[in-house]
């Protein structure tokens, strides 16, 4: 099976993505799920909902159908902040401070686990 759109011989691929007459729709929310007690909530996906209560209900129904979590958070997607894309790579890049990594340090074997 393929999901690339087949283009018939002699026809041109349309790349239309904007459309007249569609409504704005419910805003988007990001969903975070805690898989089990003792670990953090992790981003699991997104969905649409008119308000927080509906977003929580939708998150429960969409993202925990197979017992994926014991706790759910929802956050409006518009409330998530990030660095500008151009700056992000430089600000958040893995830097050269290898001395921060535990594996940098050699401990003699006879000392044992540290």
């Amino acid at each position: 099976m393929t999901y690339d759109v087949p283009v018939a011989p002699g026809e041109k691929a349309e790349l239309e993505e904007r459309v007249e007459g569609s409504s704005e729709g419910w805003p988007m929310w990001e969903v975070f799920v805690r898989a089990r007690r003792g670990i953090s909530h992790v981003h699991i996906g997104s969905l649409h909902a008119p308000d927080a209560r509906t977003a929580l209900q939708n998150a429960r129904d969409v993202y925990t159908r197979r017992g994926e979590g014991v706790s759910v958070w929802v956050v409006p997607s518009s409330e998530v902040s990030a660095f500008e894309p151009e700056a992000a790579a430089e600000y958040v890049d893995a830097n050269e401070k290898v001395y921060r990594l535990a594996t940098t340090y050699e401990i003699p074997e006879e000392v044992g686990q540290m």
């Binding site: 393929t2 999901y3 690339d4 087949p6 283009v7 993505e17 729709g25 988007m28 008119p50 308000d51």
Partner: protein, 308 residues
């Protein structure tokens, strides 16, 4: 590093492109088109199987089918979300589907005529989908690849329940076996068509492969699917409706007969048995739901005003 060079470096190193990264316009548009078609396929795919939920022959089968069709709504939702990271709105994509400007996998334009179709769709159609989706977990676009990982986990239940359903039929009465054979007779060729035109007729494959959106060509995936499926049909004792199908020792693959591409293009262009019904059904459900969506938005706005 200049953004285009950085983009190429990420692609070359088998890392993933993320939504905020610079990407060529063609890459973005190709992804939107493909992810939208994929999402539409999941959502339209609910109809042929939903057709049998109220008629499932046992409560156990009813529960399985209901869960499966519901999963497909979930898959559509994950995929629309992945498309939305590229700057399009779900409502716009759905509207394009309603207006007939967007397509979905043509297989869903065939009708489900017996209970055996529920097994055959799981086995062949979901089997074909998994072949493709496993490849797509390695796609270069992060959100699409992540959606695929999640979907593949769920799809494996879909394929296995379908095959198990057919085992039941094939070990059952003569009527049940005949029902299963009739289903494979109808679904085999459309399933092979699902992999898309031959590589020689797929002008965009090369670019998609270079961008690592697509990792394996249509013909290679189709061959992989046939090789995997023939022994499974043998186990069921079902005959694959292709007189040319035989093992080719030299190639190490099954040879199979020519695909009726005229039929394929006819259905893609809208003349399959169920094209109109599928889109009309979807559009009717959407239109009838307008007042509900608006009511929820209006209530949310009122609540916000009350809180202020």
């Amino acid at each position: 590093m200049a953004p285009p060079a950085r983009f190429q470096e990420i692609i070359d190193s088998e890392s993933k492109i993320e939504p905020s990264d610079w990407m060529p316009e063609g890459y973005r548009k190709t992804l939107i088109r493909q992810i939208a078609q994929h999402a539409h396929s999941e959502v339209i795919g609910m109809q042929p199987e939903g057709n049998w939920i109220t008629r499932a022959p046992s409560l156990h089968r009813k529960a399985i089918l209901m869960a499966k069709v519901q999963d497909e709504a979930g898959h559509g939702l994950y995929l629309y979300s992945a498309a939305e990271t590229l700057g399009v709105k779900r409502n716009d994509l759905q509207e394009l589907l309603h207006q007939g400007k967007h397509k979905y996998s043509s297989i869903f334009n065939y009708p489900t005529l017996s209970w055996a179709d529920m097994g055959t769709i799981g086995w062949l159609v979901d089997g074909a989908a998994i072949t493709n989706q496993v490849m797509l977990t390695r796609c270069s676009y992060g959100p699409y690849s992540r959606a695929m990982v999640r979907i593949c986990k769920e799809e494996s239940f879909h394929q296995r329940q379908g095959y198990e359903l057919l085992i039941r039929l094939c070990q059952g009465s003569e009527e049940q076996k005949a029902m299963a054979q009739d289903a494979i007779d109808r679904w085999w060729w459309p399933s092979l068509m699902m992999f898309g035109p031959n590589d020689s007729d797929s002008p965009h494959t090369e670019q998609s492969m270079a961008w690592k959106i697509k990792r394996v060509t249509n013909d290679d995936l189709r061959q992989q699917f046939v090789d995997m499926t023939v022994p499974q049909a043998d186990y069921l004792g079902l005959r694959i409706p292709d007189p040319d199908l035989k093992w080719n020792e030299e190639r190490g693959h099954y040879d199979f007969g020519p695909i009726d591409w005229e039929e394929f293009w006819r259905v893609v262009r809208g003349s399959g048995p169920m094209n109109r019904d599928r889109v009309e059904h979807k559009k009717r459900a959407w239109d009838e739901g307008t007042w509900v969506r608006e009511a929820a938005s209006a209530h949310a706005a009122k609540q916000q005003r009350r809180a202020a």
